[in-house]
Symmetry: C3
Subunit: 475 residues, 3 copies
Amino acid sequence: MIANKWALSPDRCFDPNPVQRDLARQLHAAVKDRPIVAPHGHVHPALLADPDARFGSPADLFIIPDHYVFRMLYSQGVAMEDLGVPTKDGTPVETDHRKIWQRFADHFYVFRATPSGLWLTDELINVFGVDEPLNSDSAQRIYDHLEAQLAKPEFTPRALLKQFNIEVLCTTDPATDRLEQHQRLHEEGITLVRPTFRPDAVVNLNAVNWQANIVTLSDVSGIDVNSYAAFIQALEARRNFFKEMGATATDHAAVTAHTERLSEHEAAAIFERALRGQATDEDAARFTAHMLIEMARMSVEDGLVMQLHVGSMRNHNEANFARFGPDTGADIPTSTDWTNGLRALLNAYGTDRRLQLILFTLDETTYSRELAPLAGHYPALLLGPPWWFFDSVNGIRRYLDLVVETAGIYNTAGFNDDTRAFASIPTRHDVWRRVTCNWIAGQAVQGLVSEDDAFEMAHAFAYRLAKRAYRLAEQ
Amino acid sequence: MIANKWALSPDRCFDPNPVQRDLARQLHAAVKDRPIVAPHGHVHPALLADPDARFGSPADLFIIPDHYVFRMLYSQGVAMEDLGVPTKDGTPVETDHRKIWQRFADHFYVFRATPSGLWLTDELINVFGVDEPLNSDSAQRIYDHLEAQLAKPEFTPRALLKQFNIEVLCTTDPATDRLEQHQRLHEEGITLVRPTFRPDAVVNLNAVNWQANIVTLSDVSGIDVNSYAAFIQALEARRNFFKEMGATATDHAAVTAHTERLSEHEAAAIFERALRGQATDEDAARFTAHMLIEMARMSVEDGLVMQLHVGSMRNHNEANFARFGPDTGADIPTSTDWTNGLRALLNAYGTDRRLQLILFTLDETTYSRELAPLAGHYPALLLGPPWWFFDSVNGIRRYLDLVVETAGIYNTAGFNDDTRAFASIPTRHDVWRRVTCNWIAGQAVQGLVSEDDAFEMAHAFAYRLAKRAYRLAEQ
Amino acid sequence: MIANKWALSPDRCFDPNPVQRDLARQLHAAVKDRPIVAPHGHVHPALLADPDARFGSPADLFIIPDHYVFRMLYSQGVAMEDLGVPTKDGTPVETDHRKIWQRFADHFYVFRATPSGLWLTDELINVFGVDEPLNSDSAQRIYDHLEAQLAKPEFTPRALLKQFNIEVLCTTDPATDRLEQHQRLHEEGITLVRPTFRPDAVVNLNAVNWQANIVTLSDVSGIDVNSYAAFIQALEARRNFFKEMGATATDHAAVTAHTERLSEHEAAAIFERALRGQATDEDAARFTAHMLIEMARMSVEDGLVMQLHVGSMRNHNEANFARFGPDTGADIPTSTDWTNGLRALLNAYGTDRRLQLILFTLDETTYSRELAPLAGHYPALLLGPPWWFFDSVNGIRRYLDLVVETAGIYNTAGFNDDTRAFASIPTRHDVWRRVTCNWIAGQAVQGLVSEDDAFEMAHAFAYRLAKRAYRLAEQ
């Protein structure tokens, strides 16, 4: 290794055994230039819709909006204020982005052996051309370099969208969104960016501002949402609108996997209590449980793929939530009971192939115990890739080891990056491709799959499974 | 690899590291020809008791009765009717076995990297001499070949029983079974097939047809089961009969591990409610919890090894259950609390060496957290091998990694295949032997066991532990 | 391997891949001679405080007090009486230590592939110079050898304390302990042995002899503990005393992670019920949940690092507990809900850097799901190393694989041996150092950390993290 020349090993994520590594290289070489299919993520569409949009400073790009990054520094004693994370009440935080960057660089060693460290390193080196390791000493030089790069036309979001070879990029959008950014993209002829219908803010009765959200839902749908029946109609109307705008999927989050069919009467009574501001926590939990089944019913009818993300206790740290709002790295997983929880929904629609339901878990113990057996039985079910804390080299390996033997690879949904950080998309897909190729190579060198099958499987993981899962085109 | 010559690597399941692989080969060579001890499984005794029994068509042998196989195809959108799975109401299903076979072959790729795929491949190649890969194109040629093989005398169940070098094969039989097939085998001098006492259908008060089962129990035992006391007597009588017929073990299934000693009075009251058709679900759960302790008590007295399988939520898919009945791949695991659940039973009999209680889990999280510590303490406890979804290359590895450090290998019960698929028995035992040998080799090359110990351990896993656990002979 | 020359591989715990092994060796060579930091354990201070203390016979040293050892033999049918484990009622047990040793040697094979086997082997060979394998045949010769060694001045506890290169050794001491042994050590100028404040016996209202313990607390604190307020004062006084005597940490055990702030009034009412002998189990559970928060509050104020060990159901085997008392290998883990359980405590003090709270789990499923996310967010939290059943080669690997990607290594607390077995301390730290070095080498050869970082990380795991976590000195 040349001193001070920062580089990533071309064999990163590959096993050191030479036979396995050689096959992993071949598999990776075969898939690394496949276009990126990014069917689930949180890139803001405005970043791409506005040709003049820019990433801002290096701190804007890498630190301030990225809770993966700042929560780790925070856990090591760096105040969030000192990292420029904005407060809800507008009390002052650090505004000198060079100082923020310096603090990040001073602590960059804490990301050793973490996926964030790997993504950041890959992005700095291979997207932005940084060539010396990031540390206290190099911090300001690298800041200079990044600032210069970000000023160039080839480092605008639009330019990177082309450079990254992205075939499809799905955003996540509130059910009440008018999708004006997507409209703008369409007008420019850019159709690779697609919206995803996310109704949590109107379905979850104890969402912040639920009543205001219902007013907005009435506005955008043109349906006066003054009853449960009107609510259902408005949601159906919004789904149709999203579908017209290119959406192929919906997305739903819940703390538990509980599903339960309420009678029309019960559902209406709860909804009316909520309109009057009188819904209890139990009302909200049961209504979510019911609406998940309703959403599956709508998916059966309109063909939108249904995604379900379960298991995050949001805003565990109440004081930080009051001060900084959501998404500051304080969403902590809890255990999930998929087997009992999903039973009502699956008994209603799980055998109906018109439904495609993709499950995401934060409880890895359910991979082999519950999710792989469920996906290996119900025709409507697919398993989403490792999510959040588990979208990592070891996390992906555990997923493959725990899921594939029971569910096979064809009951999985390929990869999605689930990221807000647009510039990190290629590295995240590359890590997935490297780890899956290496895992397949491991199967092959142990005589468990043939070499021909290995190449088929590598292509499936890298590209085909995601397109099929999200109904983005038949392959 | 010669094109179109189908073969499995002689080094399958072995690590690619040459030093580890070389030792794994040596260990495997030392144990691969040991006789098969199959102390728990679901082969129907009639298949062996009748010298004229045949396997039927290739679809009869490989697909129609095997829920491992058809549930995977079903999960990928193939209707169970199209696979010839019989319906409960007799509505028609596919009867053309060549068409069933074609559908299986068309989708054989979905078994890539699964244990079912490995077993099927090994069976096709090494039991039946298939020499080209199974796919859409080869399907009918392979069907022809299999049909021809199955017509030969060397491919009857009886012929394979000899060829497979099986030393003992235990079936699983209802408590009410008259064991006429076993009687027939004995009359022919075949004593290697042994029954296992399985009383779930009379112990579980909400079993389908429970009352009819109790009538049968009265019939076969000659004891009028009109009270709890008579029920206990009848069970004891049946156990004695099974023991006389060669049984060395009993088998019990429960959704949870809960055990609880009821008073004689409570148990009798619940039993009488059940006789009147008035038992509640809670009655049934408590009665099972109580009867597990009673069964342990009987094992202490009669020496039958007690097996306990916990954690499967049966028939998760209600519509399919109504249409096709049980065992269609819709039994889904849930989490299990062994530590609290078994406490009452273990406090009653766990320190009594006359009891040998073998536990099977579908919750791998309990291997290291609960089961290995329990088995590493209580003299009466042994840990059964990985069961069902976990009887796989990775599943066995996880078991070894999670169990052995705390419980040692001598608190485990060796291997059993738990299979209905008679012709798959050798490949299942071979996978276990390969994976254990490779794991032991891994320990040795890391300096954690000596080479001498490695050979001892390989023999224990391959043969001795199972015989000791099931009291099939002292080694 | 020379026949009958007993030795451990110098490459034990290292991967067989030559590139990884070579780097693992280099990393291990760089850290193996760092002093031992043992910030949490159960060595009795009298063993070191009394210059004349001796280990006793080989059976006294290796078997009779070590529940890791005798519970494994017990699980295989050896009576605890026959191993000399003393009974509570004084009924006789084996007193011939040569017979006890012979039984141990006869069954030494049951420790194959266990950490106990590795520790015992390393200790016998590398501390005591045994040079032939322990088995039935060699038992008495080895006993002779050990007896002779233990009679020598270089094998006294004091002599080994020097030889082991221990920089700091923390004991665990009841809140009511007068720390006379520590005083005695101080008088001799030995300050490397430090006490740890462990108040469970007075905090846990259903501890055996709780009322007597409160009387003792009054005595040693000089505060009449006749009220909740006095109880708090007495605890604060004792903490101050421990701190003066060199303690830098406290230690707390609980069955669950539940924390809950009671009102002063509620806490006082429960405490008074307890004084009157009327506290219920629910009282005890809620009081513990409350006192954990109080202890965090005191740590914020006095700076003592707080350790929390959760998840052990003590004395699962009631008959054995009645006969032999606690700590006989019958403490069995249960699952733990850290996310919900710790929320109250963390919301009170989790963002306060004056608190350093180190968590230990017996539920490995929480490593990646709950503990790493919590430690990767809250500034006050660190994750302790694998505890008990998980302090093993595979246990440490799982910990590293499951924790580091989310929490990084700098939110962990390095290693502690948690042992009563003084002579096993070097081998336990060596296993940790070997396994961490090998794991880091694995990261490096996969291109996930640089070689420079690898050496930094090895030093951190071997030495620095523990010192930082326990505030034993800034590095």
